[in-house]
Symmetry: C2
Subunit: 292 residues, 2 copies
């Protein structure tokens, strides 16, 4: 907390943030919270550039730690996805100090590598949900506003609708989770409802990644799988002849994992918030930290 | 063996074979081996079609087993890559009988899922090398001829040049190996020189897959990594600013895996043969089975 205002730090462990976001998000926050406008700090690293990335690995890891380890921040918000979080996960986890445990982490897509690492490390306020750059989508203020409402108020309407019914939950981009399997970043998802979404992949790749995920013995201990939206699927040559839901059902059947239907998550403005772990934990966290 | 002639069965556990291949390969074999022309049988499944695949999963698995479990065949040759081998691996491994152990298996790319499964199951004549469909490449007769020379004569000039110096070896397409990690198909590669190649992926994906592979504790027990050719790399936005070799060296350095340089493998006509395991085992196999 900073002078009573909720304080959010935005960092970009993957790709570079569009500068426009740093103007539009605070303006939105001021409109949505006129009496208690949150302080939103865009770490300068968000706008750094190093090849594919928003700065080199050291720069990105250090920016994450700058915010995570600073007691004055209530939340660390991922600027955007892209690619690069897996490259800094080891340095980030190795550098986290006590204040990092007392804040909320929110992001999705490539950020899943760090969300997984944080959750595995015992962090209790990790969630899959909109990133700052989502404000640039058509209707993107809904997504950014949802992220703020989750971080600031734990607003229940931000949640994926089944979260309240489910026990433990987790959510990932399909490709990102696939690429964590068998590494020290793979989280223990036993008993969790696992929600999966995808963007910009061909059907054969979605199928292959779901083979991979559902063939993992640890993943087979989930309570079930829900499929979010798979958008911007690229052409498959020849036509794959199965939809993403048929493919997900196939792999659930083959693996013995329960198929639990569709989830309201995806690379779009309707992407709802999915906390990692038990929803009850998050309620407790909120009361304990007094951030509401 | 069939009447003294070396007998090769071609099956397609992934994508459908071009019919032209079934004419050109036997013609090539007749030219190369006029006095001992091998019998090359293209299983009818090679030309089946089911969405993305050369027949549905049951059809593809059964075709593989038809050849693998038939004592009369000396070698099972993968028709081509594409996608689909991981879908049939469980059924194939579950259905293998005694005669399947006494033949050579040759393929690469998507076939890696089955090569891995066979090698993990203790098969000693598994190798990474050209598929039948490679004959359609420009200069592809060199690749198909190399495959024949390996299967029929274990011709030493077909081998990736470092194989004779190395102890145990294995080779994989980068994406395919990545998608086996943490599944029951992941082979034990401890002490192996691991050769990796890629085709048609963006640099960020190659980087991410190499993060994945080199972060796996079992993979870290390899003797070292050699990088084959990464061809047809798709555009990276923004430019990745690192080459595939720089990326491979990066992950070797980070993971403590020895970097052993470049390997003469790839999705091209120069793709050399890399036996799985110890070259000595293969020599012994050859003498024992009397297939030379």
């Amino acid at each position: 907390m900073s002078g009573g205002r909720f304080k959010i730090g935005v960092v970009a462990p993957a790709s570079r943030l569009s500068p426009e976001v740093a103007e539009r998000v605070p303006a939105l926050a001021a409109r949505l919270y006129p009496d208690r406008t949150p302080e939103i700090v865009f770490h300068k690293q968000c706008f750094a550039s190093h090849g594919h990335f928003a700065g080199d690995d050291d720069t990105r890891a250090q920016a994450f730690l700058d915010v995570a380890n600073d007691e004055s921040y209530d939340a660390l918000w991922f600027a955007r996805g892209g690619y690069g979080s897996c490259r800094v996960a080891e340095a980030v986890i190795g550098g986290l100090k006590e204040p990092s445990k007392r804040k909320t982490y929110l992001g999705y897509s490539d950020a899943g590598a760090l969300l997984a690492a944080l959750y595995r490390a015992g962090f209790t306020s990790v969630a899959h949900g909109p990133v700052a750059q989502d404000i640039l989508r058509d209707g993107g203020e809904a997504a950014a506003g949802r992220a703020l409402a989750w971080m600031i108020d734990r607003a229940p309407e931000t949640l994926e609708p089944t979260v309240n019914r489910a026990g433990k939950t987790a959510a990932f981009n399909i490709t990102i989770l696939s690429q964590l399997l068998g590494t020290p970043l793979q989280p223990d998802l036993a008993g969790h409802v696992l929600m999966l979404e995808e963007v910009g992949e061909a059907m054969y790749r979605i199928d292959r990644s779901l083979f991979h995920i559902t063939s993992n013995a640890e993943i087979r201990r989930v309570a079930g799988i829900m499929l979010g939206r798979c958008s911007a699927i690229t052409p498959n040559e020849p036509d794959f002849a199965m939809s993403e839901e048929e493919v997900a059902r196939h792999w659930c059947r083959k693996s013995g994992i329960r198929w639990l239907g569709r989830a309201d998550i995806g690379h779009d403005v309707d992407n709802k918030v999915v906390p990692f772990g038990n929803r009850g934990n998050l309620e407790a966290r909120r009361q304990w930290s007094g951030t509401s």
